[in-house]
């Protein structure tokens, strides 16, 4: 735990030349990436459900569970005295999703705030956690997720922010023996959003599936920087992110770093990113990166595509009787539903699809 890189004082404020920051427009973070800029400690999540099988509390001075060299996560650690902790009890099967929503009472984009959440999925528990982010905020956060042996956790984060929101976050999962972690990151709002969904394994037989979808409209910057660290034998990972962009200045970044260390024999991994450009003036960066230190694996692969939906496609669909507006919706919905339908949360699926439809109407108007 005492790695030098874990200490904020050993880092300087990123300049944009660092590999990890090279795509991000740092002038738009409102200082969140600045190691010296002030930030207030505000535990801003509240639990909306109160079923049995879990507790949601505020814990003083909890230590961090993982290593990171991410400046913003370290800044959050340094500037927070308390951690919100969601604990799912041992062997508990929580059937209904646990909703945590961002309480913006007292927030304003002018004041940067830090939030820390720890999710403990105790041994052999089963639960779905949904974090709902909406409104206007300047937020740096770290979420650490510990899956004990045999735990099954579905972890959903929804970024439906207003356009002035700046949100930088690290979501780190530690997946125990025979545990199954499934995450869904949905980002359709926010002016500047940079998320680091990262995974490490603590025992064999563990599995992580990371799904994501993002939609960037005019002038939105949305970055998802996935990192899966296979250092344990016989673990599995799947990464599947899809994004669409429409409007001048829309910019998305997807990085998929998968590392298979020498000890990680029997690893099975595949990562995939697909982007759909719906207009001129939008930019999608997509960088899959697979590093393999052992040949004794089940499989490892990656794919990345960025395609356009253009006037010729529209003509083709229209020439088969499909009206132009329906053709656009069809293509975009079909593209997203592949991910969205996996949520198994019909109300949220419909809400996200409607948000995307609305953005499209706006952008094409």
């Amino acid at each position: 735990m005492a790695l030098a890189s874990n200490i904020l004082e050993n880092h300087t404020t990123p300049t944009g030349r660092e590999e990890a920051w090279r795509f991000a427009p740092l002038s738009r973070t409102r200082g969140l990436h600045d190691v010296d800029a002030p930030i207030v400690d505000r535990p801003s999540l509240k639990a909306l459900s109160s079923a049995s099988g879990f507790t949601f509390t505020l814990v003083d001075g909890a230590t961090s569970l993982s290593n990171t060299d991410d400046v913003v996560a370290l800044k959050v650690r340094k500037n927070t005295a308390r951690v919100q902790e969601l604990k799912i009890e041992k062997n508990a099967v929580v059937a209904e999703p646990i909703f945590l929503s961002r309480d913006l009472q007292g927030s304003g984009v002018g004041v940067a705030e830090a939030s820390r959440l720890l999710i403990r999925a105790s041994a052999h528990s089963q639960a779905t956690v949904v974090i709902e982010n909406s409104g206007s905020i300047t937020l740096a956060e770290e979420i650490e997720i510990l899956l004990e042996d045999g735990a099954q956790l579905r972890f959903v984060t929804l970024q439906e922010w207003d356009e002035e929101t700046v949100h930088i976050g690290r979501h780190h999962a530690i997946v125990g023996r025979d545990a199954t972690f499934t995450s869904y990151v949905v980002t359709v709002g926010g002016g500047f959003v940079r998320l680091l969904p990262t995974v490490e394994y603590a025992g064999p037989g563990s599995s992580a599936e990371l799904f994501g979808l993002y939609f960037a409209g005019k002038d939105q910057f949305l970055e998802h920087r996935v990192h899966v660290d296979h250092a344990i034998p016989h673990a599995k990972s799947r990464v599947h992110y899809k994004g669409a962009l429409s409007g001048a200045g829309a910019h998305t970044v997807w990085i998929g770093d998968v590392f298979i260390k020498a000890a990680a024999e029997g690893t099975d991994t595949y990562e995939l990113n697909r982007n759909l450009l719906l207009s001129d003036g939008a930019r999608a960066d997509s960088v899959p990166n697979l590093e393999i230190e052992t040949g004794e694996i089940v499989g490892a692969g990656h794919a990345s595509t960025t395609g356009r939906f253009d006037d010729e496609q529209l003509f083709y669909l229209q020439s088969r009787g499909i009206p132009a507006e329906e053709a656009r919706k069809l293509v975009i919905r079909a593209f997203f539903m592949e991910i969205l339908s996996k949520l198994s949360l019909p109300e949220i699926e419909e809400r996200i699809a409607a948000t995307i439809d609305k953005e499209l109407n706006y952008d094409f108007a």
């Binding site: 939906f309 669909l317 020439s319 088969r320 009787g321 009206p323 293509v331």
Partner: protein, 250 residues
């Protein structure tokens, strides 16, 4: 019985050097059940005619009329033309990422027929039509035209023609890029649709070989943006022998 009537059609496209006229007064009348072949050298404007009838925005109509049973086709949007009964099998079908063939076919058929097909009969209908065109059922789950071979794209076009049941189908160089086996499968597909329906066919081609499989009732020679000679199937034989030389020197 339907009639597609093209009168004195004139079409231009925008180029870097300004507006350029491609079609210079096309006159053609097609009735249900008839098959008309339009043959001509490259650059004569055959494909422009096809795309103009379908309503591609690149082509500007500068004169003339097109009517389908008296209705003004040129006033219709692209999808309205399809709903009115026009179908264009494209020379270069477009890839549409994100949408599966099965979803696409169902949406198109729903738009054309005005109501969603019954689930129970629909699946069988698609399967049978695909089997007729020697298409693997797994094809339905692929994205529209994405990574299709030339032959797969053309089969997919004819599959749509079969399911959408147009009044008039324009086949734009459907034979191009096909090997003999694929040409036979595609041609048999067109013939099957012809024998099961009243569809009128406008077959646009550079070569005579597809006419050995799909017999035209009328052959029109196209050159410099208009029809310069019309006749029966025997005209195709003459072109096979002598080529287009006498038409392009003019």
């Amino acid at each position: 019985m339907s009639t597609l009537e093209i009168k004195n059609l004139q079409v231009s496209v925008e180029t870097d050097e300004g507006s350029k006229q491609i079609l210079r007064g096309v006159d053609l009348t097609i009735k249900s059940g008839e098959t008309h072949a339009i043959m001509g050298p490259n650059g004569s404007g055959k494909s422009t005619l096809a795309y103009s009838l379908a309503g591609h925005p690149k082509y500007q109509i500068t004169g003339g009329t097109v009517t389908l049973d008296g209705a003004d086709v040129l006033a219709m949007s692209v999808d309205e033309r399809a709903k009115a009964g026009l179908f264009l099998a494209m020379q270069y079908p477009v890839e549409v990422p994100g949408i599966s063939v099965s979803n696409f076919l169902r949406t198109a058929v729903t738009a054309i027929r005005g109501e969603a097909p019954k689930v129970r009969t629909w699946v069988g209908e698609v399967k049978a039509a695909m089997a007729d065109l020697s298409m693997d059922p797994a094809f339905a789950e692929r994205n529209v035209n994405e990574g299709f071979s030339g032959g797969e794209k053309k089969r997919h076009e004819i599959l749509q023609m079969e399911l959408l049941k147009p009044k008039f189908a324009i086949l734009d160089e459907t034979d191009s890029g096909l090997d003999v086996d694929a040409l036979r499968v595609v041609s048999e597909g067109v013939n099957r649709i012809k024998s099961n329906s009243e569809v009128g066919v406008l077959l646009i081609t550079h070569y005579t070989r597809i006419l050995k499989y799909i017999k035209p009732d009328f052959v029109h020679v196209f050159a410099a943006g208009r029809i310069v000679e019309a006749g029966g199937a025997e005209l195709a034989e003459k072109l096979e022998e002598k080529g287009y030389a006498e038409y392009v020197t003019a």
